[in-house]
Amino acid sequence: MIPLNYYLVLSAILFACGVVGFLIKRNIITIFMSIELMLNAVNLSFVAFATARGVLSGHIFVFFVMVVAAAEAAVGLAIIISVFRTRETLNVDRVNLLKL
């Protein structure tokens, strides 16, 4: 059996990849994918812990996260499309209307 730590390290690496991607990419789609990556890294931790401790609550949590992520993907993609329609760019640095 693969020890718990392996999963956790993998999860941390994936999460770090997601954070770095989020920070350094300009394309909104890529950023969105990075967010999904972070969510799934966390999902992995949940599942790993649940399996290691032999309880089901972690799995159930993962399902919840997946549902929310799906909904989020739907809304997020809709926002992205509407942003692209109005501003004709997917570069987040150009989408800074909230700036002071």
Binding site: F22, V92, D93, L97, L98, K99, L100
Partner: protein, 710 residues
């Protein structure tokens, strides 16, 4: 026995409130009626209270009206005390004050701000009566401060005129210097005696062994003296009083005669228990008094402004009172205070009448020969002059002679004091008759006829244009020709009546002192306090606590004599010896008074060329004295300029601008600068926000790891 003492000060306050709040809409007649009614009512209450006190066998009455405040063990009450000392003061203040009110009705009728004037005048009466009737030092201090305020308001009455406003400020600030001393004396009293009530303090003092606390009592006495110097215009704080002439003339009469300046003398006499135990302080009082009397009289000789001569004469006479108090002849001081109130009020009012009659001129060199134009003013003023010069049988003779005799014979006295007093008496007589001769005899030297038409308002020095804004219209409404100044004329009867009454008082006022009657009258207050009295005071204090309404202290009149028991034989011999000396001194002082008269007659009637010659021959001295010894200039250079410079450079530009404004502005600038840096953070760039979130999360994780390790 309830004397309603509280009503005596409060009646003028009511008048002041009515006139102050509503007087603007009143007609002049109504304003005058209100002011006169409340002053007269106060005078009536005072007479009523006085006669009831004298009719009973009580020596003093204290009426308490609840607690003012309590702080720690100190309890201060609203209390009024009527004894023979405050009785004299009360009657002088209300009586002379009322006459001055009557006079003012006519005198001020052409001025703007009529209601304001009477409001202030009534306010002055209120504070002075509070001062006189209070039964504790703190309430006295309230009156003390209030008198300073009212004098500021009245001296600066013509506030549009710069010199008047400055004189008001000068009076107020000089008084503050003195008040500072009085206040510290109060603190010392509270600290060491735990009370400010007269009888408590005096009882405690009389219980103390003679040697102990001499330093404390001397300190208290000297500080009180500082306060008294400010209020009563003694060296070194007398400078405000001559400048106080900027106010309307009746105000000068009120300040100089009946009220304000007597406060210091009253306070010293009231505190005789303190001063009797502090010989050094007493000596200081006598020295300051003697110096002031002499010094001010020399200035008075050279002045040409009729009101300034009187002002310096007041300072000089106050010096007499201080000298009397300083040789422990307190009743002589009060006696002179009373007679002085009569003749000095008369002198000022008569001077006001002269100024009124010739259209605002105050320079005596431009008067002369007014006797035939205003005979009543002349005769009343002559009476006052004779009285102040100390020529029998007028009032001033008795009081002044008493002071001179006490200065010579009192155990605290010295012949030097007598000598200074006698020389001053000579100068007094001289400058007063100089005033009379310059003003009333010879030919009229002022302008006749149309030269002075247009002096619509008879004002002290051409403040015709000065008027309250709201009264400007009214002032202009006074027809110019109605009072256009042609030849000098006699004043209206409303002004002359007070003069005549005061003249009668100036003649008769001294007679009550013949044979030491006045001294015996005041003896219960001035008697050196004895332990036995103290015990009586204590019981009354106990009773106070039980029923706080009214306390009457019964003191059998016979106990008076317990104080001094003359040892028969040699005392009688001594007395006869003293009697001889007293008569000799009396004779000398009369001769001196006539000498002054004669010299003034010689110089200002017979040989009019002589004064100028004398002045030129004594050139340096004359200019020095004429410029009042340059005291104002010295004060200006030594005190005022350094204070102004220090205030400007250190307090204004250093503390205010640098420190206070600097702190406020600096904190504002610091906030702005910090915000400038922080606002960069709101970049609108999602990624930088995300970076911050990630950094925060990382920090939290690290923190948890770190705590987990520990």
């Amino acid at each position: 026995m309830n004397l309603y003492l509280w009503s005596i000060p409060l009646l003028p306050l009511t008048g002041a409130a009515i006139n102050g709040l509503f007087g603007r809409r009143f007609s002049n007649k109504l304003v005058a009626t209100v002011a006169l009614f409340f002053t007269a009512a106060s005078f009536g209450m005072a007479i009523c209270a006085a006669s009831r006190l004298l009719g009973s066998n009580m020596l003093s009455i204290i009426e308490l009206h609840g607690t003012w405040f309590r702080a720690g063990t100190l309890t201060v009450e609203y209390g009024f005390l009527l004894d023979h000392l405050s009785l004299v003061m009360m009657l002088v203040v209300t009586g002379v004050g009322f006459l001055i009110h009557v006079y003012s009705v006519a005198y001020m009728s052409h001025e703007g701000g009529y209601y304001r004037y009477f409001c202030y005048l009534n306010l002055f009466m209120f504070f002075m009566l509070t001062l006189v009737l209070a039964n504790n030092y703190l309430l006295m201090f309230v009156g003390w401060e209030g008198v300073g305020l009212a004098s500021y308001l009245l001296i600066g009455f013509f506030f549009v005129k710069d010199s008047a406003a400055n004189a008001g400020k000068k009076a107020f600030i000089t008084n503050r210097v003195g008040d500072f001393g009085f206040l510290i004396a109060l603190f010392l009293l509270i600290q060491h005696f735990g009370s400010v009530q007269y009888h408590n303090v005096f009882a405690r003092i009389s219980q103390m062994p003679v040697e102990a606390h001499a330093g404390l009592l001397t300190a208290i006495g000297l500080l009180m003296l500082v306060g008294a110097c400010g209020k009563s215009a003694q060296i070194p704080l007398y400078v405000w009083l001559p400048d106080a002439m900027e106010g309307p003339t009746p105000v000068s009469a009120l300040i100089h005669a009946a009220t304000m300046v007597t406060a210091g003398v009253y306070m010293v006499c009231r505190s005789n228990a303190v001063f009797s135990r502090a010989p050094i302080a007493l000596l200081a009082v006598a020295i300051i008094g003697a110096l002031t009397a002499f010094f001010a009289a020399t200035i008075g000789i050279t002045q040409t402004d009729i009101k300034r001569v009187l002002a310096y004469s007041t300072v000089s006479q106050l010096g007499y009172m201080f000298m009397a108090a300083g040789v422990a002849a307190y009743s002589a001081a009060i006696f002179h205070l009373m007679t002085h109130a009569f003749f000095k009020a008369l002198l000022f009012l008569a001077a006001g009448s002269v100024i009124h009659g010739i259209g605002g001129e105050q320079d005596m060199r431009k008067m002369g020969g007014l006797r035939k134009y205003m005979p009543i003013t002349f005769w009343t003023m002559l009476i006052a002059t004779i009285a102040i010069s100390g020529i029998p049988p007028l009032a001033g003779f008795y009081s002044k002679d008493e002071i001179l005799w006490q200065a010579f014979s009192s155990p605290h006295g010295h012949w030097i004091f007598w000598l200074i007093g006698a020389v001053t008496a000579f100068m007094t007589s001289f400058y007063m008759f100089r005033l009379i001769f310059m003003t009333f005899t010879g030919d009229y030297r002022g302008a006749h006829g149309e030269a002075q038409v247009g002096h619509a308002a008879h004002t002290d020095t051409a403040h015709g244009q000065v008027a309250d804004k709201e009264h400007a219209a009214h002032t202009h409404a006074v027809p110019m020709d109605a009072h256009g100044h042609g030849d000098p004329h006699e004043s209206p009867w409303l002004m002359l009546a007070p003069l005549c009454l005061l003249a009668a008082l100036s003649i008769c006022g001294g007679w009550i002192g013949i044979g030491g009657r006045f001294e015996r009258f005041l003896e219960p207050v001035m008697r050196p306090p004895q332990v036995e009295t103290a015990a009586r005071f204590d019981t009354s204090v106990l009773a106070n606590d039980q029923q706080r309404r009214m306390i009457a202290m019964m003191q059998a009149a016979q106990s008076d004599e317990a104080g001094q028991m003359p040892t028969a034989g040699e005392a009688k011999h001594e007395n006869e010896h003293a009697k001889g000396t007293e008569e000799a001194l009396m004779f000398i002082s009369v001769v001196i008074a006539f000498a002054g008269l004669g010299l003034a007659y010689l110089l200002y009637v017979k040989r009019r060329d002589l004064p100028a010659k004398i002045a030129t021959s004594l050139n340096g001295l004359y200019t020095t004295v004429l410029n009042k010894y340059y005291v104002d200039e010295i004060y200006g250079a030594a005190v005022i300029q350094p204070i102004i410079r220090f205030s400007t450079s250190a307090l204004w530009k250093g503390v205010d601008v640098g420190l206070i404004d600097g702190t406020v502005n600096g904190s504002a600038h610091a906030t702005q600068d910090a915000s400038q840096v922080l606002r960069q953070q709101q970049s609108g760039s999602i990624r930088s926000y995300a970076a911050w979130v990630a950094a925060g999360a990382g920090f939290v994780v690290l923190y948890m790891i770190w705590t987990g390790i520990r």
